[in-house]
Symmetry: C2
Subunit: 199 residues, 2 copies
Amino acid sequence: MARTVAFIPREKVKQALRVFCRQGYHATSVQDLVEAMQINRSSLYNSFKDKHNLFLECLRSYAEAGREDYEALTRGDSHSALQTIDLIIDHMVGVTVGRADPCIDIKSCFELAGENPEVQDVLKKSSMRTIMDLRYLLEVAAEAGEMAPQRDPQATASYIFSSFSGWHQSYLLFQDPHLIRTMAELLKASLRRMNEGRF
Amino acid sequence: MARTVAFIPREKVKQALRVFCRQGYHATSVQDLVEAMQINRSSLYNSFKDKHNLFLECLRSYAEAGREDYEALTRGDSHSALQTIDLIIDHMVGVTVGRADPCIDIKSCFELAGENPEVQDVLKKSSMRTIMDLRYLLEVAAEAGEMAPQRDPQATASYIFSSFSGWHQSYLLFQDPHLIRTMAELLKASLRRMNEGRF
DNA sequence: GCCGTTGTGAAACAATCGGTTCAGTACCGG
DNA sequence: CCGGTACTGAACCGATTGTTTCACAACGGC
């Protein structure tokens, strides 16, 4: 054996993630990354192959972090299913309003998913997992009688998930936290009002 | 006077718009634009100052086209206010599903609005106009008794508007027209169910 | 025909792009 | 101390970036 690794790739990925979040993929140069990650240009290519691969690592890292957030949110089952959905919605409000830059997954979905199958695949999988979680919670909530069963729980889950993107857009344009919170309340209210008979 | 203009800038802007729609701002080179617009490199800079200005023209052109779509949709008042909202929603479903590339306004909102005040301003204004239109329709629908009056019609209008972004995201990821249509139906149903007493 | 404008074509610009190369240094286990 | 690995620093690559320049052709009004 020889010299041990001096930097933890995972940390470096997070530093790169921040830059990609702010600037997007195409607007971020390798030079930007080198400076933000505080590693050598050669090390970047040694450890991450190339810019595109590093970007994919960032996407995966972000998805994993989101996963941890979700598990922290649902841990300790002191909340009902519907309450947990509310918590997730509130959490997403916080994510939208809390930081200046939009989530990398939404941002890069619009920038790259249409043209790059690899990016699309990563985003698709992590999105699908969130949607499945929501779907499960919807079904449990229906079973528990907290809300009427959905005709198409998958679509309702997608409906919730797709709202998040719109909040980001609205916040980018209007910078109004109260508007986001109000839209989130509208979503929560409409979930409670969805019932089998009418739809 | 002298030689008359040989090409109509408005047409050239539309050709440029198509490229920006597909590739976004940063991923589009001036060379791409020159080829798509079929004009000379010099003419581009003569007529549009620079790439960034041309892009802004594209955004404005797109907003104007959207405006015309809206007016065509509301012309001939054979529909009620709520029906008109439905028509707008259906129209946006068509826009989302009908073409491969997302709207330039949504796409460039995520790519540029956060960092470029000019872009943000153009997008903000055109978005606001759509939201105001929706708000007006909501109020008319409430007055006509088609739906209960909204506590915050502005927020409800923003809620509708922000849905469109999520549909684009979903379609980019899952390419499922039926999913978009179902989410649109969920939105329509939830509009009908919003009432003063409960929210 | 001539002036002034509109557009063309191509070359050239400096700057930056993503990516490679390589000699040299820091460090570890044996 | 030594062999092998991890990483640095910097130079360097060709290609491409957005933009400018300029000589010239096409055209309309006087």
